[in-house]
Symmetry: C3
Subunit: 347 residues, 3 copies
């Protein structure tokens, strides 16, 4: 990634680093130690990276204070308490230069006259805004976002192109919804038709209520409640292509990785972590602070704070013990056969 | 969910209930027994719910006739044959008030002159309608739906924002396609290049043919046939983020849950149920009325009416027996070791 | 699929076939041997298909040269070296008649004045093109494609409706991105907040770089790099609803099937095949030419050229041996119990 050119001295000031070496080296790129060339800045947060530094062509490095790094001539070390955090500060600085805050309603947007839009919000090209919608200050609806009737969007929230909000969706402040996210589609509920053939749809008249500082990845879907709301707690981060069913109650500060699917009316406590491709059925509870490893399929409630993995999921320690034997099943089977034979000969 | 205010008397009439208690309580919301407040209506379909009723603040409840419920002062019980069905009737009534049937072609829609659109159909903002398209009466294309050339859409079908129909897609009557569904993209077919490097694309010149009363969830994809059609039978319900491959033949009244993926040319009989995250490879047959549990991966045909689960899938009874031992593998392994030692000492 | 009517003689010339039978039969459809009717052309690439031919109503068949087929009266056999390849040639011919190459910028497209668009490119209805974008010759942006700032799209690439490209995306020549694909959304990276509650977003300032001849299926997502690029190699084919994380390096000529998810900074060598629903975590390497079977979850690097399957994945031979015993676990458990009893009686 090309940076707006900064000198090592300017970067030291920006991230509050102790500078070892030249303060006038112009940095034009962030990169990994292996692929770095002159003009690049790298990150050293452990002794492993310190080793790679010896053969790197990078011009400078951000170094976590307690990692020992051998200086190379004409290069600069920027010593900080935490190289990762300094990197985030630097990325934030660059990201800020990349993001253009816009204001106003694009002439191709279709906005219902009853919608209330803050004067410093932005409604981009080909957006469609329904009746009785409220859009707060500094909201950014990039191009072709659809906002259904009676939706509310909190301050400084950003919706990327292709986002669809069904009627009555509520979104908090500073949220980030990525491309083609769909919020508020009908929950998946059907009952057998009393005639014996086919299915009757259970109408879903509820909505989705999303807290503050929530991020939802590209293509993910959150269905609305049957009645009442599907809720996503403040600070929760959801990856791409995730499905969250009707009437789920997702706690605050959860992390939900890609392709995870959560059935209807399931509850996650605060601070839950779900790995990629986790499956949770309907009507289940995952306790606060619990973790489900990637690919797990839970069939029962997960107690708070515990780590579970596997299909069906069990406590990680138990699952690993089972899997260790699973991988030796052919030997185990042979051993049993041998024992049976021995026993036959003995008796 | 806020209701258009109805009295308990009006609701009794609407769902044909026997009223016990006051008929003039104004109901403003449907809710669960735990979170209910005054003005809320709840549902009691089993003795478990009847227990919760005792400590609920709900003003009224729809009760399945054979469930015994202790009346509370100033509350109303509405006794019906089936509380679930009565709830659907009530939800339907509310849903009807939420849905605004629209008519006409929005001025920002781009419609090919050769398209034939029923006068009482609705083509919303920023829709794009291709050549030789036929759109029947009362069809609702909400905003920015793309309809490719030569598509046909049957009466009263609803397409939500962001739906994409590739050329020649056929959709029946009363279907419901949710946000960002994609119908008719190329099947995923490639052959090794005879040169030895890379792949040659197999062109897909077929189409997708969807029956009546089909529902397809947000973000789901159905690929078109190589030649001939990929078909979805009447009454089949598909959840969010499902993938159906080229030339699949999906029967009538199937239920396909979220994140399920079906490979090319696979056939589902009528009334098949697939749980969430099921994987079916190419060229497989699932018999009518069969069920595959959530997370299953089938490697062989599934006989009609059977329930299979697991990876690879096997009959549920067999799979559960295997899993029961799997969970005790560490003990089994220790037992075998002990036996081997005993036997060594014996001989 | 209805063909532009061609005689058997014309088809023989098109695919360079030896004609046995009449050259004046009019072919109007391609179909399978079972469902074929008069006027249909079928494909026979093995003796199994040759058997089906006997009872088929097809008018003609493309036949791989070394397959023995009994002629039927009034039908035509078209003998070729490879019926599959001849079929692709024929499908290509039909596909070419289906595809309309368009030129120009639709009046409803919003194009930033700084964008450079080749005169023979096509920008369809409701597309939005950002600043400093470069679009090469014969590119086809069908309706409502969003192209962020500073993107580059190579010659003859086709983007279907609903595609979203975030800023700085680079796409090569002759690529095909299907409906609602999202390229370049933020990678999923967060760090615990030093305050102890919640998460801090790691800004992603990189981009996505896609080679030539890449196909990406409907609804799939490729996240951009933290810094530096997420890369997709030339000729790689990606199915629907696939997720590729930030900073992945995907080799050339890979095949990645539906619902597969790849974590951040994972590397695939050239010619890797991933089945459907494969899960790869962060920071893993899959060697060139390796294959991961459908539903596999890898926990370690996969060596080049090897075939791995399972959860967690292991070499296919080992995994199959383990699974074979798994399916007999109930018997194995009973045998061990019996042995223990026998041994007890013996001692």
């Amino acid at each position: 990634m090309t940076l707006p050119s900064l000198t090592t001295g300017q970067i030291a000031e920006l991230v509050n680093a102790d500078l070892q070496g030249r303060d006038d080296v112009v940095i034009v790129r962030l990169s990994g130690l292996h692929e770095a060339v002159a003009g690049d800045l790298c990150f050293i947060r452990s002794s492993e990276f310190a080793d790679q530094w010896k053969n790197s062509n990078a011009s400078a490095a951000l170094v976590t204070r307690d990692v020992e790094v051998t200086p190379r001539p004409d290069t600069t070390l920027l010593i900080v308490d935490d190289a990762d955090r300094a990197m985030i500060m630097l990325l934030d600085r660059v990201a800020a230069t990349q993001t253009k805050i816009q204001v106003g309603v694009h002439p191709t947007a279709i906005v219902d006259p009853s919608a209330v839009i803050a004067p410093d919000a932005y409604i981009g090209p080909h957006c469609v805004i329904g009746a009785s919608v409220t859009i707060a200050a500094r909201v950014q609806l990039l191009s072709r976002v659809c906002v259904g009737n009676e939706c509310t969007i909190g301050e400084a929230t950003i919706l990327h192109p292709g986002v669809v909000l069904y009627d009555r969706t509520v979104i908090g402040e500073r949220c980030l919804l990525h491309g083609n996210v769909v919020i508020g589609a009908d929950g998946f509920g059907f009952r057998p038709d009393p005639s014996g053939t086919g299915l009757i749809k259970v109408p879903h008249i509820g909505h989705v209520d999303i807290g503050d500082d929530v991020e939802i990845g590209a293509g993910s879907c959150v269905d609305r409640g049957k009645f009442g709301a599907t809720t996503i707690g403040t600070g929760t981060k959801i990856d791409n292509l995730v499905q969250i069913g009707h009437n789920c109650a997702i706690g605050a500060h959860c992390v939900i990785c890609g392709h995870t699917g959560i059935g209807g009316s399931t509850t996650l406590g605060d601070g839950v972590t779900l790995g990629g491709k986790v499956g949770l059925p309907d009507n289940l509870t995952v306790g606060a602070g619990a973790t489900l490893g990637g690919g797990s399929l839970a069939h029962e409630d997960i107690p708070p704070g515990e780590v579970w993995i596997g299909v069906p999921a069990q406590r990680a320690r138990d699952a690993m013990a089972c899997h260790a034997v699973f991988r030796k099943l052919p030997q185990l089977s042979r051993t049993v056969k041998k024992l049976a034979k021995q026993l036959e000969n003995t008796s």
